[in-house]
Symmetry: C2
Subunit: 344 residues, 2 copies
Amino acid sequence: MKFEVVTIKDIAKALNLSTSTVSRALRGSYEISPETKKLVLEYAERMNYRPNPIALSLKEQRSRAIGVVVSEIANNFFSQAIAGIESIAYNRGYHVIITQSHESKERELVNIQHLVSRSVDGLLISLSSETSDLSYLQQLYEKGFPVVLFDRISNQIDTHKVTADNYMGAFHATEHLIYQGFKRIAHITSSTHLSITRERLQGYKDALAKHHIAVNENLIKYCNHGGMMIDEVEVAVEDLFRPKIKPDAIFTAGDRLSTICLGIIKQKQGAIRKAGFIGFTNTNLADLFSPPVSVVRQPAFEIGQSATELLTSMIESKRPVTTFETKVLPTNLIIRESSLQQQD
Amino acid sequence: MKFEVVTIKDIAKALNLSTSTVSRALRGSYEISPETKKLVLEYAERMNYRPNPIALSLKEQRSRAIGVVVSEIANNFFSQAIAGIESIAYNRGYHVIITQSHESKERELVNIQHLVSRSVDGLLISLSSETSDLSYLQQLYEKGFPVVLFDRISNQIDTHKVTADNYMGAFHATEHLIYQGFKRIAHITSSTHLSITRERLQGYKDALAKHHIAVNENLIKYCNHGGMMIDEVEVAVEDLFRPKIKPDAIFTAGDRLSTICLGIIKQKQGAIRKAGFIGFTNTNLADLFSPPVSVVRQPAFEIGQSATELLTSMIESKRPVTTFETKVLPTNLIIRESSLQQQD
DNA sequence: AACGATGTCGGGAACGATTGCGCAAATAAA
DNA sequence: TTTATTTGCGCAATCGTTCCCGACATCGTT
């Protein structure tokens, strides 16, 4: 099952020229006479010649492809980020190879090794929630392999990073709840391995502190699988609302976490149902919810774009890049009914 | 900015052997003595040798990668389908290269050419809404290049196809609305170029016919950009509800179409707001809507898996495949409040 | 002792493209 | 006319790997 294509050799043979001449003619080299150029160009056009990228990769030691590792494609944030990645990569002539870690550090490692062996020119990574040891990546990176971290970043490795302003996003969300009069604001988040978890948690805590509300560790729940397991979230919600003194608002720190939590709330009655709600999520459908849901929205598309720009510039840089930037893009607080204090 | 790796040549030099011997030792050839094998294997292991997939691709004329063309990644159906594709491809040792057509036939063509020139071993395609002329694909396919169509298929090309049972999905959805007492059921769909449009439309019409309801062409609106342009949908909805005699229910035929339509309905009053609603969508959040939305859900993940299984079997088939199957997977009708007749 | 059989290994072409170098012919300069 | 320069093109190496052949050495057989 082969798919025969014309090569530079075929053209050379047909035109009674050498492959070098054909190659140079195609690349418009000055050392080829205009007549020969025209001849070759026209024939190549007619035969629909396309240079073989694999051969080029082998010769030039680059593949013009970048690898992406995310936890899950079917997640609003990531699918939007990938769209952003693809938009820039496409323009710069790179292919995008996508892999999912499913929040597993083993799978993440296998994916990275796979991509590297496949000679991708660079890597765009959002860490899995299990990942704490970055030594493999570190090692790879120190050998000069371009890596850009996005969304879930780490300070264990010194390279370009792009992320949303998780701290301020969480801070403003929490402060908004406080302004609305909520006093006992619960926070449901994921593994503390993740930078986004820690940043959002800090924003939450600092907002409370600013308004002289003591942080209550019982109001903070960690779902280590980040919403990959529904049970985990159910347990967290039930734990929160079991005590006599219940939370009056919930602030969730992740896309899946938010939607799952909303689903659980919907099935419940009483205090749970009445609690204020705001969450980090990138769904476009939040205003269709009942009640319309307040969200912290991340500029996912732009994060993907920005990370890809940094990566391609690193790949194409002549000398080793030594100064790195960490881009922090502002989040968008969209207030709808769910986070408003009900007057009753 | 290079990333130096050990090659078979390095091993040969270090061990004072020829590359042929090293190659054979690594592949466990019988003509290499056990001692030499052991020596090579251990050294390769120690140096963390990985065969260069690019070189292999060049030699073997295959890349162990499959190309995917969809209209948009950030769409529930496609992101779920891609997850299914990736799950099978991963197990069979293939990489997945994803591209988006953004519903443009030019972009689709460029992507396909790009992927082919990059020597993907096969193609998984869901056609753009603009595509009517499949001659390029046809031509490619006739040269023996493995192609599997999924979701948006075409009978212009004879190969494996995988799709949801759009006809029955639409039929049952429409019939459900009829059973609920709705009489004037509008249908908002996309370009008739698409197989899914035609199949769903036919299901809709046949359900009406079965229940002796005349098809009213004024109640059918075609959004040729399939929800990529919001205006288009707004115009459609307004056109539907402008006449004196208004529809009492809406049935939408696509993911984006459904959610956009729901957004529009939400902003309106009166007849529009009160109309029954059901739509094709793969969002997981439909029961969080207000009211909870009835949907026709496609087995997106399974469609992706199935298409990938067929493609890889085609790629790996020794002799040309001549008999093709069209897999039709059942849809899932999930009834919630939005499609129930309100008793008032 | 001569021969074939077997076991181990290396040489080199091939996959498709680029590119430094060299060579011949044509042209320009002396 | 002779020399120098330019023009136009081919040879061959290279990227990493596989694989067809051919080259030996060793062993057993007659």
